[in-house]
């Protein structure tokens, strides 16, 4: 077709997704949607294949495509203009029950021509624990309401009986109503704009442009794959819950213009809700693939075609009903994403042309803590600790990772201000800052993660509770590249106040150990934050790149001055000796030489 018209239609499709995202955020008004950007809007072709993925939580782009396809299968012959379908069953297409998909057919002159789909993490889904992550759920049946596909809006009319039934099962029906309304408004905007696009240019012309857009993405991605060396790269992730460790093993093979992700050898599904279904795994591996390999290619079905996934049934990355999955998005999906980021980073690093695009693993481990309870204004509140969106960047082949720089699968997140949290919850932060030594050491250091401590403050009930679905307190998960170390693991500590009745600490500049009381590690379940106790969380840094003992000594010196690396680690790991805040060149050379000798001397010892 005419390349000018194609260019205009392509631009307009991008803007349609943008406008729909704006609408979603506007109508919802919730913190997780607006601050965490925990949302996604995409357009799909008439057969449900991905046409245009937006910048949201990228895990969802392929799963929502499957949601469209399964709605098409289930409702074939009974899909009408103005219908909106709801789907949140993980065994059908969703990632977990609290990420609800609303899927809308788009008709033009009576003919089904496209689909739009969006999701938000709804305020509550009626699982055993509030907020959606349900560490205490033994199976899918206790993870709240789930539907493999139900008509929520029929011909433009809300099905009130269906809505009432859903709202009857959730903790805060008003907030969930708002979430659903925002998704309906979002789909309506996408539908209206698509329809006017087709009215202006003709449905045929638009569909031709869409087909061309998909073909272009496929061609471009295959061309890029062909430029990369053929080979096989491996990575592994450990997920520990309550002392039980599960592995995600990945072998990624690249042959010419094809890419195979093979998860054979991954552990059987877990009794805990960190499992994910195969659609979720597919989403997990595409989340880093889009921005790492297809940063300049439109994210659509064309990118999916050269990729194959092998995920053994009954494993943690392709669990079978009724395994619980509510923590999947920060559990196995995130590990699939990390493993894929690691192997893709290795492959990019193997190419002279694309080495600058390779990165060690970013923010490998969300800590997903939901606080809940009565706040200082007397109202019941549920809220995620938004620091979980503020992960650390992995080191690149040419630069350090970004300190507390976010994550790859959700490119535009942010965390709330301390003042915002303290205004909404009866808590007070003792500190919130970057955590020293958390960034994976390397020639280029992984970005540092952070640490925070919270105490109850003026709480009408003496404190609050929190749901924690923390993993990674035993294993570093942000793998390094080319000799770089992984970022430090997460740490979750409940500090129990001393028996002597001393007041809760008012300040703790010295960090965790400056908070009086006994320390108990927590990671999974529901815990109190009451009285004079404190909660400490440290979150992972990014992986490093290259051998730390070749890092520029001045960079190490600056890191120590900025409190990002301890003097101890500067010496032990980087082999840099500091004197009066400056690098001692001679001592540093000697120290590094000594480290090299010790490395080879190991042979004798073994």
């Amino acid at each position: 077709m005419d390349p000018m018209t194609f260019s205009i239609i392509r631009h307009r499709l991008f803007r349609i997704v943008d406008e729909a995202v704006i609408t979603l955020k506007h109508v919802s008004g919730s913190a997780i949607t607006n601050e965490g950007h925990d949302l996604m809007v995409s357009l799909y072709r008439a057969d449900g294949t991905l046409l245009m993925g937006g910048v949201g939580f990228l895990h969802h782009l392929t799963s929502a495509a499957e949601a469209c396809k399964s709605i098409i299968r289930r409702f074939e012959g009974d899909i009408h203009e103005g219908d909106i379908f709801l789907l949140n069953d993980p065994y059908t297409a969703a990632l977990h029950t609290s990420d609800i998909y609303l899927v809308s057919p788009i008709h033009h002159e009576g003919r089904l021509v496209a689909w739009s789909a969006c999701f938000v993490h709804v305020y509550d889904i009626g699982a055993v624990n509030p907020g959606g992550f349900a560490p205490q759920a033994p199976d899918i049946y206790t993870e709240g309401f789930s539907s493999p596909g139900i008509r929520l809006v029929s011909g433009g009319e809300m099905r009130q009986d269906v809505l009432d039934t859903i709202l009857n099962m959730v903790r805060s029906p008003e907030m969930v109503t708002l979430d659903l309304r925002s998704m309906i408004a979002c789909n309506n905007v996408a539908r209206d704009r698509m329809q006017s696009l087709m009215t202006k240019y003709g449905a045929e012309e638009v569909d031709t442009a869409c087909a061309e857009l998909v073909r272009q993405s496929e061609d471009l991605f295959r061309a890029r794959l062909s430029e990369l060396p053929d080979g096989q790269w491996q990575s592994r992730q450990y997920l520990d819950v309550n002392g039980v460790t599960a592995r995600v093993n990945l072998t990624m093979t690249k042959r010419e213009d094809r890419l195979i992700f093979d998860f054979s050898g991954s552990d059987p599904q877990s009794p805990y809700s960190i499992n994910c279904t195969k659609w979720a795994s597919l989403g997990g591996l595409f989340a880093p693939l889009f921005p790492l390999l297809c940063y300049d290619i439109t994210w659509n079905e064309g990118v999916l075609r050269p990729v194959e996934m092998i995920a053994p049934e009954g494993s943690i990355v392709n669990c079978t009903r009724p395994a619980p999955v509510s923590v999947a998005t920060v559990g196995a999906i995130q590990s699939v994403n990390n493993a894929a980021c690691s192997t893709i980073g290795k492959m990019l690093g193997a190419s002279e042309k694309y080495r600058d695009q390779s990165t060690a693993v970013w923010h490998a481990n969300h800590f997903a803590i939901f606080k809940f309870g009565r706040n200082q204004k007397g109202s019941e509140s549920i809220g995620i600790l938004t620091e979980t969106f503020a992960g650390a960047g992995g080191a690149r082949s040419f630069a350090d990772g970004v300190e507390i720089g976010g994550e790859i699968p959700n490119p535009i997140s942010r965390m709330a201000n301390v003042e915002t949290v303290e205004a909404a919850f009866p808590v007070r932060y003792l500190f919130r800052r970057r955590a020293p030594d958390s960034g994976g050491p390397g020639e280029f250091r992984g970005g540092t993660g952070g640490e925070l401590a919270l105490v109850p403050h003026k709480a009408p009930d003496g404190g609050i509770h929190y749901v924690i679905s923390g993993k990674g307190a035993r294993h570093p998960m942000s793998e390094g590249l080319a000799g770089g170390y992984p970022g430090a693991p997460n740490s979750y500590v409940w500090i129990k106040a001393p028996e002597d009745g001393a007041n809760a600490p008012v300040t703790a500049a010295g960090g965790l150990d400056a908070i009086p009381g006994t320390q108990e590690r927590v990671s999974w379940g529901v815990y109190p934050l009451m009285g004079r106790d404190a909660l400490y969380v440290r979150w992972n840094g990014g992986g490093g790149h290259g051998d730390p003992i070749v890092r520029d000594p001045d960079a190490v010196c600056r890191d120590v001055a900025a409190g990002l690396v301890t003097a101890q680690s500067a010496g032990d790991i980087y082999g840099v000796v500091l004197n009066d805040g400056a690098v001692d060149e001679t001592e540093t050379q000697a120290k590094r030489k000594g480290i090299r000798s010790a490395r080879l001397a190991q042979e004798a010892a073994e």
Binding site: D437, L481, A488, H545, D547, S569, R596
Partner: protein, 94 residues
């Protein structure tokens, strides 16, 4: 594969052989696991990277793979003791 390719930023390829990128030390065929030719060491996680790596649990190690000639650190792996080595290989293009 070509000499422009690498196995990683730290392991280069020369005429089909994996070599240390720092000193050129031969690490075997690029189409086979190079780590078998590297110097391997396992460090308990608690000692691997400063206090932040001390999780209070044992059984997790950080594996180091060094160049047997110049002692460059070529790769790391987080592992539980019994788990196999992760291998990265290039394929010869037919």
């Amino acid at each position: 594969m070509s000499d422009q390719d690498r196995i990683s930023a730290s392991v280069a390829v020369m005429e089909g052989q994996a070599v240390c990128a720092a000193c050129g030390q031969d690490l075997g065929l690029a189409t086979e696991p190079w780590k078998e030719h590297a110097q391997r060491r396992e460090i308990p996680l608690a000692q691997a990277g400063g206090p932040a790596f001390d999780t209070g649990h044992e059984g997790v190690v950080l594996r180091h793979f060094y160049c047997p000639s110049c002692a460059a650190l070529l790769d790391t792996e987080t592992a539980m003791a019994e788990d196999p080595t992760l291998n990265d290989i290039l394929a010869s293009r037919g």
